[in-house]
């Protein structure tokens, strides 16, 4: 019995996607592409709009660890945050294969359907790890404000690190790529959509600390060991445009749209 190929339109959330998975198994439909409302690519297949249903999503999510092996739900959750192209299709195929094969799929690390997700998740986790070090904050009237431009949606992964680190501070960390921000005040955090961030110019004191940091950064390098290629490998240039030590004041943190 062959399943009918379709294109699913959903709201772009993980819950929405998991509802699609539920619907696909319920109706014997095989999604070959996924669309969110913002995209209007036309496809050759029948398009079906799927309404997010939390109960169905939870059922699918809970079934994963039991039927695919430990860590499956975590892999799917994280894969959904990655910038893997057509991530929905990849995750769907992984699930389809996993449900067929029953236990053991999480051990099949060398299977193409599994390794494509794991590579993408590794990329996400590595980027998140780097941003915990490379993100820079400025003090704006007592509130710490930072901005990052990641390829993957790293905020949910780095959230707990920064809320631990800045336990008694208030801070805002804006993800320019995905237009969302992590907001924190002691005891409370939230990740919300945020299209732009306008900041007033930095105060005198803030400029003073930045200047000291730049001085430290340039002084600590040993001239006889100069090695720009190693520096580029460890700290790729795409991270640098928001980093204090690589920007002059008036660039980077202040050069935000509309300010």
């Amino acid at each position: 019995m062959s399943w009918i190929p379709v294109c699913y339109e959903y709201d772009g959330t993980l819950e929405g996607f998991l509802t699609c998975v539920f619907e696909s198994f319920a109706h014997h439909e095989e999604p070959v592409c996924f669309q969110t409302p913002h995209e209007d690519a036309c496809t050759l297949w029948d398009t079906r709009s799927v309404n997010t249903d939390r109960r169905k999503a939870v059922r699918v999510f809970r079934s994963m660890d039991a039927r695919l092996g430990r860590g499956a739900s975590r892999l799917v959750y994280r894969a959904f945050l990655t910038c893997l192209e057509e991530k929905e299709v990849h995750i769907y195929r992984f699930l389809q294969y996993g449900y067929q094969r029953e236990r053991g799929v999480m051990e099949e690390l060398g299977h193409p359907l599994v390794s494509v997700l794991q590579k993408a998740v590794q990329h996400l986790e590595r980027e998140a790890h780097l941003y915990t070090g490379f993100a820079r904050f400025s003090d704006h009237r007592g509130i710490l404000v930072g901005e990052i431009e990641p390829k993957n949606r790293v905020l949910p992964l780095i959230r707990s690190h920064f809320t631990q680190r800045y336990h008694r501070e208030c801070f805002l960390l804006w993800d320019r790529t995905h237009q969302e921000a992590l907001l924190y005040q002691p005891g409370q955090w939230v990740i919300v959509p945020m299209e732009e961030l306008r900041l007033s110019a930095a105060a005198e004191e803030e400029l003073h600390w930045r200047a000291l940091w730049r001085r430290f950064f340039h002084t600590v390098a040993i001239e006889e060991r100069r090695n720009p290629r190693c520096q580029n490998t460890q700290l790729p240039k795409r991270y640098r445009n928001r980093m204090t030590e690589f920007c002059r004041d008036g660039e980077g943190m202040e050069a935000l749209p509309g300010s």
């Binding site: 053991g104 060398g110 915990t132 820079r136 008694r168 501070e169 430290f216 040993i222 060991r225």
Partner: protein, 423 residues
């Protein structure tokens, strides 16, 4: 003198210290405190020499009473001198930390007056940070050899990691170049710190709120290439330090000419032995994570590392009788010894082969570097299809693989390879 000038002088004086890690301790944030630490640590930036910047690495003072020949801060050297006041340094640390520039403070110092006075001043800074500012981030402090053990203990209760620099790899070199430092004087605080850490762990097991002494362990560093010791001598010393003193890390620092002393290599023609330092770090990893012993890697006939290939390849080439390893059956320890297979890929092989038979394609997806591993493994009883290399050509092939990377790391060493036939 303003803070900017002090920071410049005291960073410049501290930059030759190799250790810059913020790892070894998981400490979650706490109400009313500032900061946290994590097991793996973070790099916050990379300086122009490609080294990780994670801690604010400065000296408390560079006005030294000693005259060690290899050291830029020696008494007889004509350089500007400066000393931070404890509040200046504490404020600098906190403000850098808040902006996520650093993971904490690495505090070292020249000997101001005496080891005791120096240690007391360092304690003042750490106390200010921990108690007044509620700083909960990482602190690495240098124990000053010769200081009162009670003071070193206080330092260790405030810091996360302590280190004592072994400075030079042999007693003879130490006596020659650092007459004020004695081997016994360096090893005594090291042993004290080791016992302090062990004692604190024992107490913690009994009382949850027992004070923690250097919970991220201790480390040390030595200068490479200023004195004539062989790699074998150095690596055996490191191994003894790991075994006997339970060090977390030994750091190696290629000597950079900072002095005209006749006892040291002349600054003019001298190139810092960066490739040698790199090979020593690679071997150090083999000791700590790959179950190798120093005696296996180097012996009396072969006291130095082959500069063309890494120590693991070099070992494998001399032990071809142990290869090829059959990846679908070999034990973890045997897999770890294959060039091109690391800790991560070895673990993955163990998991993956339970679920499905392995193939070379699968190995590649598991992260095995086949370019290296192909000469040393079979998969399902077969070598990689199409691989035709005679045993004596393998070295040439492996050396050729390293050449582009070496080009980046150590351009001045390239002349080494001019006579080499690539594969």
């Amino acid at each position: 003198m303003n803070v900017m000038d002090k920071l410049t002088i005291l960073t410049d004086a501290a930059k030759y210290d190799a250790a810059c890690t913020s790892s070894g301790l998981e400490r979650r944030g706490k109400r009313g405190r500032m900061g946290s630490t994590t097991m793996a640590g973070f790099c916050h930036s990379f300086s122009a020499d490609g080294r990780c910047v994670t801690l604010l690495k400065v000296l408390m003072s560079n006005a030294c009473a000693y005259d060690c020949q290899y050291c830029v801060n020696r008494r007889s050297n004509d350089v500007p001198r400066a000393t931070f006041s404890p509040p200046e340094l504490a404020e600098l640390t906190i403000q850098f930390y808040r902006r996520n520039y650093i993971e904490g403070l690495f505090l070292s110092s020249a000997v101001i007056g005496s080891p005791d006075i120096t240690t007391e001043r360092m304690i003042q800074v750490l106390r200010l940070l921990r108690e007044t500012y509620g700083f909960w981030g990482y602190i690495h402090a240098k124990a000053i050899p010769g200081a009162d053990p009670m003071l070193t203990r206080q330092l260790g209760l405030l810091a996360d990691r302590l280190s004592v620099n072994i400075e030079l790899p042999s007693q003879h070199s130490l006596a020659l170049l650092a007459p004020e430092k004695k081997k016994a004087g360096i090893l005594a605080p090291m042993a004290q710190i080791r016992d302090g850490i062990a004692g604190s762990k024992e107490e913690l097991a009994r009382y949850r709120h027992a004070p923690r002494f250097a919970p991220a362990g201790q480390s040390t560093q030595m200068i490479i290439g200023a004195t004539p010791e062989s790699d074998r001598h150095i690596l055996t010393l490191s191994q003894a330090l790991y075994d006997k003193y339970q060090l977390k890390r030994v750091f190696y620092s290629a000597y950079i000419p900072v002095s005209d002393s006749k006892l040291l290599p002349a600054p003019r023609q001298f190139q810092p032995p960066l490739l040698r330092e790199h090979r020593l770090y690679q071997a150090d990893w083999l000791l700590r994570y790959y179950h190798f012993r120093a005696e296996e890697l180097l012996d009396e006939d072969r006291p130095n590392f082959d500069e063309r290939v890494d120590p693991k390849c070099s070992w494998a080439l001399r032990h071809m009788e142990q290869f090829p390893v059959e990846v679908s059956r070999a034990e973890y320890e045997a897999l770890l010894r294959v060039p091109g297979i690391g800790v991560r890929s070895a673990r993955r092989i163990l998991t993956a082969r339970r679920a499905a038979p392995l193939s070379f394609d699968i190995l590649k997806r598991l992260g095995v570097v086949l370019k290296r591993a192909q000469y040393f493994i079979t998969c399902g009883g077969k070598m990689l299809p199409g691989l035709r290399v005679k045993e004596d050509q393998v070295l040439g092939h492996l050396a050729a693989l390293e050449r582009p990377a070496l080009f980046a790391a150590v351009p001045e060493q390239l002349s080494l390879f001019d006579g080499e036939v690539g594969g």
